[in-house]
Symmetry: C2
Subunit: 358 residues, 2 copies
């Protein structure tokens, strides 16, 4: 299969991944780590997945502190295509900046935005979905990828699908975005067959995105276009940008205005939020699952996830669903069931003045 | 209180303490470690406890590999009083060698033998017991310290007490030594009030000990005396010595022959066999117990024992009765209930060629 004409992959690479401490740190967030044991980081995996569609047409948007690390991991993406945010301003600013740059550079561009820290296990199914989405987006729709829910998650937002789009049998109208529901509500959603997970992946023409933004936030759109026209004004204009997610700034009002469609697909998608979901993703035989050098782990009647990332031997005896993450300067021991609470440990370490570790 | 005239403290410092891996190693067995958080190792604690009784009259018997470490930890014991065993030959050879040296050097000596890796929490009660035992030993008895059982342990041997010794109201005849009983049998023993734990601590005149040995193992006793007379023959004679525990070689047959008495006492005594017993010994508030620098441990809803011995931060979340032992080259994660099985991990590491770690 050939790549998609004028298709640009935009990769916002942000977020701390605090619940994946001590692997993930402020100084090295989760997208910079190989969490799947493939030898490629999540960021690299994102590009690997998109390269057949975008060839070398990438724009990565990341924090200034991470720009060097991103460039090092992605030598194929030139420095002019790794945009550095002066400060975190949420997803609308990050993705909007990429849109403004692409609008300036390629009038025929269709962009797809794909977070740097997702894991997708069916790259071909994913690619088909993106191809369809790109075709639909050329007709000026804001297109979201609608992921078939694997279970009634209360951790993700959903899109509520309407009728198929005339002329685009692979796409469905989006009636609305719904925030994270209860498990019960999610179960009801799934039973209707008309709800999909919203994973924040969408495809759109840059001008369409910025024009939609301009309908509800005209100064925001103008500022992004001004930065693209005069990059030297980045610092000056950036601090004034609202901190708002793209979903709230554009996708939700655009859905209400009938401008959003979804391409449903069944690729297996994972957002590795914590060590429990990482353990589930990697789970296999033998137990415990080892992310790293198996020769370093000596287990006896144990299950769960062991990450021997310091080079030391890790011995685990008689613990079920345990999580052991061993790094050169910090060690975490918890259980899969309590993995969410790692966030609190990180907060307490920061409170105690150990920001060197978080 | 003054010291005991001509009283010599003999400290056999042997045993690997495999179940305390990765703190305890072949290269640094448990007696070389501060396992109680006092700033003194078990070996140093043993000497601290005995110094009021023995002043500077110590003989330490240890393996050749550990002699330098022992000398470094005990600068107050001169090199001529730290005897190095050419190879491990069990307790009869180790203690018998000390006895032969003392018989040679001090005809009025009374020796007490005290393993280097015990913890005793009532040093004054212990000292009173040893004083009584030394008085009794001058009348040519083999005197064992009879520890009041804290619970019906199936892990220790017991001494069966007979009547009080005429002329020595603090001492009781020993009818027999009994091997580790079942918990049920131990419970019955304790109910009679006539059984005490045998912790391998005894007091005796060196000549009495060697003469008793000579009754059942004449060549053994002769070899020990030959080494004392001609230390240059140590290597030559040592390899021929039987590998046998003092209890079997002397104490049991001597008890049958009516030559053993016990001084019962109620000092609190601990043999730190594994991380479960160490956790019990150190247990207090807050939980988990930290052996080492508490500032390195960040716990959330956790109990058990954490040993942060590598300088790294250790975070523990949502685990009860967990054991985490963090050393520079190896990490152990287990539970108090499974702490005994650490021995198997060590065996497997050795099998896998990681003898550098065991």
């Amino acid at each position: 299969m050939s790549s998609i004409d004028h298709f640009w992959a935009v990769v916002p690479a942000g977020g701390a991944g605090t619940r994946l401490w001590p692997l993930s740190r402020r100084s090295a967030p989760k997208f910079l780590h190989d969490l799947t044991g493939t030898g490629r980081t999540l960021l690299q995996g994102t590009l690997d997945r998109l390269a057949p569609l975008a060839e070398d047409r990438f724009v990565v948007v990341t924090g200034r502190a991470h720009r060097d690390a991103v460039l090092k991991q992605l030598p194929e993406v030139g420095p002019e295509r790794v945009l550095a945010e002066p400060s975190p301003r949420d997803s609308m600013a990050a993705i909007g900046l990429a849109a403004a740059v692409l609008e300036r550079d390629d009038p025929d561009a269709v962009m797809g935005s794909f977070p740097a820290d997702h894991v997708i296990r069916d790259p071909d199914v994913f690619a088909d979905c993106v191809r369809t989405a790109a075709e639909v987006a050329r007709d000026d729709w804001l297109v979201t990828l609608g992921i078939e829910p694997a279970f009634p998650s209360s951790a993700f937002g959903y899109v509520h699908l309407g009728d198929p789009l005339p002329g685009h049998p692979g796409a469905r109208a989006v009636l609305e975005f719904v925030e994270k529901p209860s498990v019960r509500t999610a179960t009801e959603y799934i039973a209707t067959g008309r709800y999909r997970w919203n994973a924040g992946m969408f495809v759109v023409r840059p001008t369409v995105l910025l024009d939609l933004l301009g309908r509800w936030h005209p100064e925001f759109a103008a500022a992004l276009r001004a930065i693209a026209a005069e990059p030297a004004r980045l610092d000056e204009l950036w601090t004034g940008l609202p901190k708002i997610a793209l979903d709230h700034a554009v996708a939700e009002p655009a859905a209400d205005a009938g401008r959003v469609v979804s391409v449903p697909s069944a690729f297996r998608w994972e957002d590795i939020g914590d060590f429990d979901s990482l353990a589930a993703l990697l789970a296999g035989d033998p137990q415990p699952t080892v992310l790293g050098d198996e020769a370093l782990v000596q287990a006896l009647d144990a299950s769960g996830l062991v990450v021997p990332a310091s080079g030391r031997v890790v011995a685990v005896v008689g613990l079920e669903d345990v999580v052991v993450v061993d790094t050169p300067d910090a060690l975490l021991v918890t259980t899969r069931a309590r993995a969410q609470e790692v966030k609190q440990v990180v907060a307490e370490l920061a409170d105690r003045g150990r920001s060197d570790l978080v």
